[in-house]
Every structure is written in C-alpha cells, then in structure tokens.
C-alpha cells in the first residue's frame, strides 16, 4: 500500500480532514481512480495542475508514473518557472 499525503485544502474539502491515507495502486492513474472512489470528485481535482513527489522525486506531470508497494506520494503545487 502506498502512503499518500493530500494537499491540506483538498483533505479538508473532500476527505473530512484526513490528510494521510494508504492506497492500493500500481501507478498514478490507478491512484486517482482509487482516490476518486473513496472521495468522489477528488480525481478530477488532482488530475491537472498539481505536481507529485513519488519517493522524493518531483513530477510536474505524474500521469504515467508507476507507484511502488511502499511508495510515499506527496501532492504539491506545480513549480513555477523563473
């Protein structure tokens, strides 16, 4: 099970304040589906405009990334270019 950390605002809005959760997913697409099943509407909110850190590496576009059995997945704002 991957450990997922949601953005504060979304946790409050859609997950009843639960920020950290365990999710069974082999890749980011499955993760979005699983989150959406648990918290309807969350998948849409996380599909665009967010970056994700998977095991410490930041992906500006995580759609195709795979997720390991013990991965840590953090949702982050996209990093602006200077």
């Amino acid at each position: 099970m991957a450990r997922v950390v949601l953005p504060n605002e979304l946790a409050r809005e859609l997950a009843g304040g639960q920020k950290e959760l365990e999710v069974e997913a082999e890749n980011f697409r499955q993760l979005l589906k699983a989150l959406d099943r648990r918290f309807p509407g969350m998948g849409d909110r996380l599909r665009d405009g967010v970056a994700v850190a998977i095991d410490g590496e930041i992906f500006q576009e995580p759609f195709l990334e795979s997720i390991g059995e013990d991965s840590e997945v953090f949702f982050l704002p996209q990093i602006e270019a200077g």
Binding site: D55, E72, P77, E80, A81
Partner: protein
C-alpha cells in the same frame, strides 16, 4: 576538472559560444530589431490611476488623427470566463491574463493598459493616445500587503473569496488564498527548545530588470494566419497564450523567437504580443510595439513585496527543534503570488521534525506579479536565514556550523513533505567553511554574513533535433530561447555524444512550426531537460550512423561501434575495415538510405534539487548608511557544469541581483498609488562600481538522473544574498535590518534609532 579526470572531451570545457560573434558585433537580432514593410507603430494608453472604474472610452477623436489605422480596447478581445485552463505547462487563469493585457471594466494599477493605437508613425500614435477620452471613476486603492488584508480595505475584485480557509468566507476580500505546509507538531517542537528566536521581515517589490524592453511585431493575414516575432522565454507559450486571448486556434499563430535580452522569469508571460495582434487584425497591416522603460516598470514583472514572520527554536547544542513561518505576499492586481513556493522553500535546507509554513496570497493595486528567478524563495529565505543568524548569535555558535548541524541530507524529509534523494547541501556549507574567504580578517565597520538557499529545479516537456549536414557538420535544433549561453551547452553535449568537434556543431533556435512543443526557458530546466532531449536525439544519430556503416561493410549492426566520431568494427571477428568518420558517412548517405537525423521529444524527469551557500563581507559607513560589498563568494552544488564559465556566470549574476534586492532596489509608490520611480535612475540596479569580483565555487555532486550529471543552476544564486547581506550588515554595525532594501536612508534611520537611549520606550 581536467579532460582526463572527467573522461569527457567537451563536457566541462569553455569554448566560445556559437552565437557569440553575432552578439559582439551588433548583428544579433533582439525583439525590437525586426521590421516589416508597411509596418505600423503600436502604442498603448495606460491608466494614470491606481484603481478606477472605466465608465466609457471614446476613441473617435483618435481615429481622426492622420495616419491612425486602428484603435483597440477590451471590446476587441473575447471576454473569457473565470477559471483556470490547462495550457502548455500548467494552469492559467486566462480571464485574469486577458484583463491584465487590456483592462475590462476597471483599471487596477497605475500603468494598466486601457486602449492601444496603431499608426503610421510614433508621433501620430502618441497624438492619438492623447485624444482618447477615458471616463474614469477613481476608487480608493491599496498597495501595501498588510493594509490590503485589513477588513474594510479597498476591494479589487468583488468575486474574490479566500480559498483554503474553513468555513468558506461569505464576503469577498483581497486575500485570494491561504496555504499551509506542515510536518510534525510545531508547538511540541518549541516545547523542546532551550532558545527561541522570533522576527518579522519585510521586503519591497523589485523588478527583474532585464535591459531589453518587451517588443513584438505581429502580422495577421487576410486568411487569419498570424505571425509574431518577439522576445520571450518561450515561443510556444506566446503562441498558446495569444491564441487563447484572441480566440483563435493555436495553429493559426506562428511565433518566431528573436534573441532575448534578459528575462529572469519576467518574459514567461505576454503583454504586448496580443495587443499587436489585435491591432494588426484590425488595421490589416503588420504592427510593432516596443515598450518604453517606464512601461516596463509600471506594467510588467515585478515580484511581490512581502511580510514574513519567523520563529525558530533550538536546543543549547544547536539542534533546531521547530521552525514556524507566516508569509504574506502581494500578487499585484490578480491572484497568483509565489507564496506557496516561499512556504515550501523557507526551511528546505534543514532537517526539521516540526515545521510549519503558512502563506497568504494577497491582491493589491500594483502590476500583476510575474515570476522572478526562484519565484518566492528569496523573501522567505531572507526571514529564515536572518533568524538563523540571530539564533547562532544566541547560541554562541558559528553560523555555518549551525547550518551544518541541521543540514538536509539524502533521506531527510524536506520541510514541504517528500524525502530528498542525492543532494549536495552539506558539501556547499563545508566548501564555504573551508574557503579562505571565511577566515579572512575584517576591519572596523566591516562584517561578514552567510546564508543558504534551496530550489527544486524542474524538467518538463522538451524537444530537440540533430541533423547531420552533407559536409559532416551537425545542426542542433534547440527550441528554447538562449538567455544565457544555452546554445553552447547544447553544442557541447551534442559534440560529446557524436564524437565530433564542438566547432562542427551549430545550434539554432527555431520557430513554433519547425519543431515539436517545448516548455519555456525557465525554472533552471534548459541545460538539464532540453539537454537530455539533445543527448537523446544525438544518440539516435549515432545509432543511425552505426547502421549506415554496417550497410557499407555489409555486416550486422551489432558488429559496429561508435568511437571518437567514427564507426569501427567491434572486433577483428567482424572483419578488417577502415573506420568510417561521421563526415564520410554523411557524404555517402545517399547510397545508404538518405539524410541522417534524429529527433527526440521527452517529458524530462529527475531534476536534481539545488543548494547554495553564500559568504558576504560588507563595510557600513556609519555617517551615511551606505553599504559597500567588499567581498562575495557564492558556493553551489551544480551537479556537473557543462560549460563552467556560463555556470559561474549564473552564480555571479544571481548574486548581483540579490545584492541589488538587499541594498537598493524597490518600487516606491506615491500617496495616490502611482509608481514614483519607473526608470533606471531612481530604480537603482547594481552597476559595475557597486560590486566586487564575485568568487564562485562549483561543487559537483552529479545528478544521477542526467546523462552528464546536470542540475539546474540559474535559480538558486538569487536566494541567499538578501540574508547574507543583511547578516553582514548586522555583524558590521550591530543593527539588524529587518526591512530591505537596506538603502542608505533606511539604514541610517535604523542606525540613528539604535543610538537613542532605550529609555525612550
């Protein structure tokens, strides 16, 4: 690093940049240097008010001026619904962008465009601007970030409700959002502390200060196909944004990039391009708009002015137990300050179990903020790194040793959440500690300050092509505007892969129709991400060359290796063949399958975070408050320097911009909310006589995710200087400057205040 030590022939060397000759002879074409037959001059009418309702615009007298061919206002752009759209690199609110390019209903800052004119001469266009009658109903304004947050402050947008607070507010305000990043339990962390430091820190708005004003030529044909020549940090960005603002398909617009005369983030958006397009569409002729410098200051860039609260707790032996910060950043007239990035970077160099950063994004009657080098990070670092200096003082610890004792390492959970992989922060602190500068003697009124900084660095969508010419040279098609020598880096990497001389590789920067999409030049991503695409495309060429040699020799391709720019038999079993050079294979390519070329499109991953540590010596003149920077050393983990001179240049230039931010640069607003210093005379960027040589130490902890170990380098060096300078001032004269810039009047006032007897309060 010598060639033999690194094993590279070109990587790490310092050849002359391929575009250098054009740039030292005046031949290089920048944004304002392009002309077309029949071209009109476009000029923009700007609001003289900080905040006003536009009740009406009457352009009839302007259109009667001889030579005037078109006038446009917001009516000439489609009204765009509110909300973010995903375009190119990320979400963008195109309603805000459209309203910023041309005011709709209200003007929100001094300099906000309300109309534009195209005429046969500048004089006619200027006269027409004078004759446009705009009926303004002036409204109360607010330019200060804290005042804008007060209840009852003049409201910029009636539909702006703070996001990120619970319950959702039922009234609009100027606070667009609240964000929070936290780890552990901050109050528990402070309970463990023996020493706590607290402070409030203020920075003023500063401009990117690129020397080239925004400029564009636009031509709209009768068939609706548009061409734009302009200076930007990304021609694909210009295409996508202009298409949205004009309501046309992307493919109708072709953007041809000029050379770019500096950007630093300020050219990651559009200002004059859609206006020139709208004027050209209406006038039926090409239109050129070049901003004057006062327009650049009043209506482009800048970055946020900020208010930052910091609290840090530590044990007696120097272990930080908790860090807490509250950041208030103004975004200008539309939401979107870089406060989130300020929150995420504030404590990033340190290993903290308990940390919290809360940020507020606040709109005010100032120009809409644009990205500026490491957006949001320098102001947060100013607060945290100043507070750490205070902490070191209270603990009686060396400030670098304090940082080293708490430094983030591989596996450290970053303050913004994830765990770091391979990083080189510790190495930068150790290199600063070991540097002779750190032990050099100081005289009276002199002091030394240190500070560190962190930036994420990014990868992103990137494309590149490598074409082999018939004469055995190669073209690298590099879709990213070359803002600081990136052509040289691309040519070096291509030459390294191909095994041919650097001088035989020629990079070009193409238009939007000549190569697939690439993200902007920004975020310290080009040498890393576009470099990966170039390496990939060059490897494809090598594979093709091997296969061509295999055909010539009539052997299996596995029997051919590529070494030093030549195909050779992999072993004597393959057969006895004279090596075939790239030039020979190119010359004979008609016989072996036609032209030889490679093209790569990638979404680059694995950008390595960057860390820097700076050491600054200053002298304070106690009679005038003037600060002289005596010596400066910038240490940074750069992964691997492809062209060390241009890497050093990034460190030196970033440090100089940070020093300007710390000592002189600031937006000054009048009571009426108009900008009082929109020129280089009164907005004082550092000049040559203000600075010493800036020493650099390139620490190379290679990024394992890049073929040559590259980390982005451009962003980090602007982060440490604000606090490094302020800390040096503190040690020179005993006065802590919590408000930057520490310009002579402000420092003198602080010195005088420090002299007053404490009984005064």
């Amino acid at each position: 690093m010598s060639d033999s030590a690194s094993g590279f022939k070109w990587v790490g060397t310092r050849p002359v940049r391929p575009d250098g000759l054009d740039k030292v002879t005046g031949r290089a074409n920048f944004g304002a240097d392009f002309t077309m037959p029949g071209m009109l001059v476009g000029r923009i009418l700007r609001s003289p008010h900080a905040h006003a309702r536009v009740a009406g615009i009457d352009a009839s007298a302007a259109l009667a001026v001889p030579g005037v061919k078109a006038v446009v206002t917001a009516e000439d752009f489609p009204e765009i619904p509110d909300g973010d759209l995903m375009v190119g690199e990320g979400p963008m609110n195109f309603r805000d962008l459209s309203c910023n390019v041309m005011a709709r209903g209200k003007v929100l800052y001094d300099g906000h465009p309300v109309a534009a004119v195209a005429a046969t001469s500048r004089a006619a266009a200027e006269e027409a601007l004078d004759r446009i009658r705009v009926d303004y109903e002036v409204l109360p304004h607010v330019v200060d970030v804290l005042e804008a947050m007060e209840p009852g402050a003049p409201l910029l947008h009636e539909n702006l409700f703070t996001e990120g607070v619970d319950p959702k507010p039922d009234r609009p305000s100027n606070v667009a959002s609240r964000v929070e990043f936290s780890l552990g339990d901050v109050e528990a962390g402070f309970a463990e502390a023996d020493v706590v430091v607290e402070g409030e820190y203020t920075t003023e708005a500063v401009h990117q200060g690129y020397i080239e004003p925004h400029a564009a030529v636009a031509s709209v044909g009768e068939d609706g196909h548009c061409t734009v020549w302009c200076s930007s940090q990304g021609q694909f960005m210009v295409r996508a944004y202009c298409a949205k603002l004009l309501g046309v398909e992307n493919s109708r617009i072709r953007v041809i990039p000029s050379e770019i005369g500096g950007g630093f983030g300020g050219k990651t958006t559009i200002y004059v391009e859609p206006v020139a397009l709208a004027l050209s569409r209406k006038a039926g002729r090409p239109v050129k708009i070049v901003m004057d410098r006062d327009e650049v200051f009043r209506a482009t860039g800048p970055t946020s002015s900020t208010h930052v609260k910091v609290r840090i707790g530590a044990t007696k032996d120097g272990r930080i137990t908790a860090g807490d910060t509250e950041l208030r950043y103004q975004a200008g007239a539309f939401s979107g300050s870089p406060v989130q990035l300020g929150c995420m970077t504030a404590f990033a160099p340190y290993h903290l179990d308990h940390v919290r950063a809360v940020g507020y994004d606040v709109v005010v009657n100032r120009p809409k903020c644009a990205a500026y080098r490491a957006p949001g990070a320098p102001m947060a670092a100013f607060g945290v790194e100043s507070a750490l200096d205070e902490l070191a003082g209270k603990l009686g610890m060396d400030p670098l040793e304090l940082r080293l004792a708490n430094a983030a390492r591989e596996g450290t959970k970053a303050a913004y959440g994830p765990r770091f992989r391979q990083i080189g922060y510790v190495e930068t602190v150790e290199a600063a500690l070991a540097h002779e500068h750190y032990r050099a003697a100081l005289g009276p009124n002199q002091g030394r300050g240190v500070a560190s900084g962190f930036w994420f660095n990014i990868g992103g969508q990137s494309s590149a092509a490598v074409h082999v010419n018939e004469d055995g040279t190669a073209v690298v098609v590099d879709p990213n505007p070359d803002i600081g020598g990136s052509r040289a880096s691309m040519a070096i990497m291509a030459a390294e892969v191909l095994g041919i001389d650097y001088d035989r590789v020629r990079p070009i920067v193409p238009d939007t129709s000549s190569i697939p999409y690439s993200d902007m030049t920004g975020g310290s991503r080009v040498t890393f991400a576009v470099g990966m695409a170039v390496v990939e495309a060059a490897k494809q060429v090598v594979e093709e060359l091997r296969s061509r040699a295999a055909k010539v020799w009539d052997v299996d391709v596995d029997g051919v290796v590529w070494e030093n720019g030549e195909a050779r038999p992999a072993s004597s079993n393959v057969g006895e063949f004279e090596p075939l050079s790239l030039a020979a294979l190119a010359e004979g390519s008609a016989k072996t399958g036609g032209p030889i070329s490679g093209q790569a499109t990638i979404n680059a991953r694995g950008a390595g975070p960057g860390f820097g540590t700076h050491v600054c010596d200053v002298e304070v003149d106690p009679d005038t408050g003037r600060v002289t920077v005596l010596r400066y050393t910038a240490v940074q983990d750069v992964g691997r320097a492809i062209h060390p001179s241009y890497v050093e240049g990034q460190l030196q230039g970033g440090a100089a911009q940070g020093i300007g931010w710390a000592l002189n640069e600031e937006y000054v607003y009048s009571e009426a909310g108009t900008l009082e210093n929109p020129g280089f005379l009164d907005y004082r960027v550092p000049v040559a006589s203000d600075l010493p040589m800036i020493d650099t130490v390139l620490v190379e902890v290679p990024n394992p995710r890049h073929p040559y170990g590259v980390r982005g380098v451009g962003e980090v060096p602007i982060i440490p200087p604000l606090a490094a300078v302020a800390n040096a001032i503190r040690h020179a004269c005993g006065t802590r400057m919590n408000h930057l810039p520490a310009s002579p009047p402000r420092l003198l006032a602080a010195l005088d205040a420090a002299k007053l007897p404490e009984a005064a309060d």
